[in-house]
Symmetry: C2
Subunit: 311 residues, 2 copies
């Protein structure tokens, strides 16, 4: 049995356009790292957090990583195990890229591995959802499930929890731009209308059925045609600077699709080449700079593996 | 070039549970037959209709078969071709099983074949939709597309028309019961609420994404878990005698799923064996008999081929 481990877990794009609340996928970069040591002294302590500008709690009861590890240890029947955690934030907080999820998933993957993997990644999902509950106010799975499983993931149902791993075509790249403005998840959720027209819902479920079909058929054009959101995006895009201009720039540059990541403010485009993804991120970042808004950009294929052990 | 042809086109189940307005599939039985002859005299005539109890118009301008054939001939550039049509209704009208669609599709498949197939089955869909417009008041595709293409079909979008043929597992059987009561399609549509809760729409699109995934993965249990409709069925089921009792009987007898076909009153169950499908149709039919309601029953695998040429 190992005494220490270092784990990377990936960022994720949730609320994938027409797949609001049910569809997410993981990317190779960015992501977070957790270093975990078994220690003599009973209980969980957060030894160090880097890269968070002091924004995350060191109190083990309040930190999402330690809190979800605690749930896990209780479940496993080892509530008194001594654990020291270092969290290295390598991605921005509040970006809409599943920042809390990446940290939580790295922590759970680490503890499960230290204990010789009593649970499968799928079985870790409910524990990671506990972390999301602490971070966002509700225990959603559309970031943690793709972060744990890799790839595209459908949350068909929460009660009972029913998670389906979907395939995707090779050669689909993701261009991400995080405009550095604040869009708290809670506010972004509260903006959304509670009632919608049935005919709009029908359009949306035609599109999600088309997107899922496109993923299985590895039909990138169908994926692109289906990635439209007439219900949530029109509201959420209001909080994102120059959203429709960014979309226009991406689509005119050859993107397959463009949308909001999670509840924003990050946006993402699918592209058919890595070079096209780089071109689009640079073009959008330059535009944001011209508006006086700094941004971070990421280019990555869709992540296939979920968390990985480093070193 | 042939001078006459006899074509069978299959019945279809549209509005497949969580796939309201976007998903349909074809069955092997029942269905309709069209006999078509080329004649000297210019124009389209309906020579004979059998099996309709005199309910369908012999006027070629009002009959859905001749009207859609007329649209087709205009498009093909042969508006004056002499055509005589016999329509043999082998399935009930107003059953929710795509009765008008089966007739229209048989007619279009027949004329296209007589002219050596200038159009593909997919290209015939818009002409068949013209027939549906005449029959139902709006030109929907979720009966005619599966009747033309066979199998499960997704109508992702109407503008532009985007139709995707979906796979399905072998060994999935369909048990259909048509309780002989009247549920006009127009009334059934008007009952549906125009606005729905977003959270219910999310549940629905999680389920349609699950159903589409199940079809691709050939996962019959996932198909069954996903076939739930919380938006339309609760309203439409009111018009169907003892709907929830029929569901209970089907599910307790081992059905994979149960739902309304089209706008009803027919209901259908998916089963894993033909014997189970037969058992369920008989059980439900007996129950309806005990309520004083006569019914017709059909057992069939999912149709893979669309229309076929007879003789």
């Amino acid at each position: 049995m190992k005494d220490s481990i270092k784990v990377f877990a990936p960022a994720t794009v949730a609320n994938v356009v027409c797949g609001y609340d049910v569809l997410g996928f993981a990317v190779n970069a960015p992501g977070d790292e957790v270093v975990m040591h078994r220690v003599e002294k009973s209980g969980i302590t957060i030894k160090k957090i880097t890269g968070d500008d002091g924004r995350l709690p060191l109190d083990a009861a309040k930190n999402t990583v330690s809190a979800s590890v605690k749930h896990y240890l209780n479940h496993i029947g080892q509530p008194d195990l001594g654990i020291e955690i270092e969290l290295h934030k390598k991605m921005p907080i509040g970006s809409g890229l599943g920042s809390s999820s990446a940290s939580t998933v790295a922590g759970l993957f680490a503890i499960n591995n230290l204990l010789d993997n009593p649970l499968t990644p799928m079985e870790l999902v409910p524990f990671a959802m506990k972390g999301e509950e602490l971070a966002c106010g509700y225990g959603h799975a559309d970031n943690v499930a793709p972060a744990l499983l890799g790839g595209f993931v459908l949350i068909r149902s929460y009660e009972p929890l029913d998670i389906i791993r979907l395939p995707h075509p090779e050669g689909l790249y993701c261009a991400i731009v995080f405009p550095e403005v604040d869009v708290p998840t809670r506010d972004a959720r509260q903006m959304i209308r509670q009632k919608v027209f049935l005919k709009d819902a029908v359009t949306q479920w035609g599109n999600i059925a088309g997107l899922v079909s496109g993923l299985f058929l590895k039909d990138i054009d169908l994926i692109g045609r289906s990635m439209k959101d007439i219900l949530v995006e029109p509201v959420r895009s209001i909080l994102i600077p120059d959203f429709y201009k960014m979309r226009e720039m991406a689509m005119e540059s050859g993107a397959v699709s463009f949308g909001i990541s999670g509840s924003g403010p990050s946006v993402f485009a699918f592209t058919k080449t890595e070079a096209n993804a780089s071109f689009i991120t640079q073009k959008i970042a330059s535009h944001l700079t011209s508006l006086g808004i700094s941004s971070k950009t990421y280019v990555s294929p869709i992540n296939n593996n979920g968390p990985v052990i480093l070193d």
